[in-house]
């Protein structure tokens, strides 16, 4: 047990599980302090793992010493380690934020900490899974915890959004499970590394069907256009720390799986037809334009940010025609980091603005900049990342995407990326313009805890500063890259 806790691989799953259960035992609304302390430890574990993976290559751990195929193997290559790093980097400031956001004893915060712990255990488990069935179980854990978090407010709108989300996520994982069943029936294995040569050697039609089902189910869970219908009510209706977690991390988990399948076991199938990788890119393009349009027209602040998530997820799918070279993958993961940090910051800043003004329309933000300059600065910095202005991580992601696109003669993708940045500028400036309006001094704002503002600011500055330190992240992705 102690040995397992010192190894980062099982530790990253056991620790959040432990503080989630501890928070449940402590009672409703409690457990913030152990969560924050353990999250810091998880973050250190992640840094240690990053160091280890960079030095010695992919790390593995057979759970309980059993080993595959009888037991479960955990595996961390460069891609998985990068996603783990993003998860802990977003979760830690959000935990500090949530501690100040939920008043002690507030009914809407009764189950936040246990669900948060379970969500993180599921996410970390998902990134570390080395077989398709373990992925299914962690996918469901993440989905159920996320639905619980959406329903936490307890209002009719939130319950309806949670149910709609639950049905979407169950349908997605059901399609994925059927794909796993067909693959096991064809090859008698679910290990990702074992499957790769088997599929490459012989792939009957049944496996093509299985691959299609798995990718379709995961796209539904990633809310790729036109499967995004469940996302805006769920992300826009939940409490601010929950929206931040869902938009920054949960949708990235299923994207990571699509990437892992596409580059791994399903690679021989996606190479069958040259136009196949253009299908996700086409849907991504539609997502960028539709999501941005809805964000520009949204009346409520959190709905605007939720539709912006629909648009930003579109960029992640633009990379699929470019995955022949490492540059495409690097652009996608950089975009996942940029959006994860910036969107968490934006929802956190929106939570401050909503608490201060007591309402959540964009029109009602007039004068907020005079009273809450730090929050508005955080919102603006996050906006800089979403628009892709230098020196932010968003700029680096777009730069790499455009470079990879032009290098492979896909200038259409470069055009879409540039147009999306302009559209993002329109919806970010809509909010900022309103907030910087001068109002009569009697308009009063509720006081908000300073730690809320600083947590939002920390996330936003991380999303910008990562642009200056992107090289390390790019190196990490070299580890385990097969192409």
């Amino acid at each position: 047990m102690t040995e397992a806790l010192l190894d980062p691989l099982p530790g990253l799953i056991l620790l959040p599980l432990a503080w989630g259960i501890a928070a449940f035992l402590l009672g409703p609304g409690r457990g913030a302090a152990p969560a924050i302390v353990t999250l810091s430890l998880q973050f250190l574990f992640c840094l240690q793992l990053t160091h280890q993976v960079l030095a010695d290559g992919p790390a593995t751990h057979p759970v309980g010493g059993w080993g595959a195929p009888l037991g479960i193997d955990l595996m961390a290559d460069g891609l998985a380690t990068a996603m783990l790093l993003l998860t802990q980097a977003v979760a830690l400031p959000l935990a500090v934020y949530a501690r100040a956001y939920f008043r002690p004893g507030a009914p809407e915060a009764r189950h936040f900490w246990p669900l948060f712990g379970l969500l993180l255990a599921g996410l970390n488990g998902l990134f570390l899974s080395a077989d398709l069935f373990n992925v299914y179980v962690t996918l469901e854990l993440v989905g159920l915890a996320a639905v619980g978090l959406v329903a936490m407010g307890g209002g009719a709108g939130q319950i309806a959004a949670a149910l709609r989300y639950l049905f979407a996520t169950l349908l997605g994982s059901g399609a994925y499970l059927l794909g796993v069943a067909l693959i096991y029936g064809s090859y008698g294995s679910v290990s990702i590394t074992t499957l790769e040569p088997l599929v490459a050697a012989h792939a009957p039609t049944l496996v093509g069907l299985a691959g299609g089902l798995m990718l379709l189910g995961l796209m539904l869970k990633t809310a790729l256009f036109p499967f995004h219908f469940w996302l805006p009510p769920a992300h826009g209706g939940a409490a601010a720390p929950v929206s931040a977690l869902l938009s920054a991390l949960v949708v990235k988990a299923s994207f990571y799986l699509i990437l892992r399948l596409w580059l791994g076991p399903l690679a021989p199938l996606s190479a069958l037809h040259p136009l196949l990788p253009w299908l996700p890119a086409l849907l991504g393009t539609a997502a960028i334009f539709w999501g941005s349009w809805k964000a520009i027209r949204a009346l409520r602040l959190k709905m605007m940010i939720a539709y912006s998530t629909v648009a930003q997820l579109g960029y992640l799918f633009l990379i699929f025609p470019l995955l022949g070279a490492l540059g495409g993958l690097q652009a996608g993961i950089m975009q996942a980091f940029a959006h994860g940090l910036a969107k968490a910051a934006m929802f956190a800043a929106a939570g401050v603005l909503i608490k201060a003004t007591g309402q959540d329309t964009i029109a009602g933000l007039a004068g907020a900049a005079q009273k809450l300059p730090l929050t508005l600065f955080a919102f603006g910095l996050a906006g800089v990342t979403l628009m892709g202005l230098p020196p932010s991580a968003g700029f680096l992601a777009k730069w790499q995407l455009i470079e990879a696109a032009l290098g492979q003669d896909c200038w259409l993708i470069a055009l879409v990326a540039l147009a999306g940045g302009l559209l993002a500028a329109v919806y970010v400036f809509r909010v900022l313009r309103q907030a910087f309006l001068l109002t009569a001094p009697e308009s009063s704002l509720q006081p908000v805890p300073r730690s809320l503002e600083w947590a939002a600011f920390a996330l936003a500055s991380a999303s910008v500063l990562l642009g200056l330190r992107g090289v390390e992240l790019m190196q990490l992705l070299h580890v385990g890259w097969a192409g």
């Binding site: 149910l163 049905f167 169950l170 796993v180």
Partner: protein
């Protein structure tokens, strides 16, 4: 025809029925039942397809046991949310999406 293949074919019939129910039905209880039908279809395929020469493979059976636990948890969560929605609105259908 072997028993395993028969199981898999029944599963292949159940799964799309469940998906259709989940998409088309409006009554929440029917949708929850449809989800369970879909899950059972996938489980039957998982067990049936892996069974060669009528020798049972234990690995997919362990997987299906895990899958059943997940499905029970998901059903319980869906029922709890449905009850809550009924207590709040008196309806067993999801309201139409508000356009914002």
């Amino acid at each position: 025809m072997s028993t395993g293949l028969l199981f898999a074919l029944v599963g292949a019939a159940l799964f799309p029925m469940g998906v259709a129910g989940l998409l088309v039905q409006r009554h929440l209880l029917r949708r929850i039942l449809a989800f369970n039908l879909m899950g059972s279809g996938a489980f039957l395929i998982l067990v049936g397809l892996a069974q060669r020469q009528d020798v049972a493979d234990p690995v997919p059976q362990a997987m299906v046991l895990t899958g059943i636990v997940v499905a029970v948890a998901a059903t319980a969560l869906a029922l709890a949310l449905t009850r809550r929605l009924y207590a709040l609105t008196g309806r067993l259908e999801l309201p139409d999406v508000e356009h914002d």
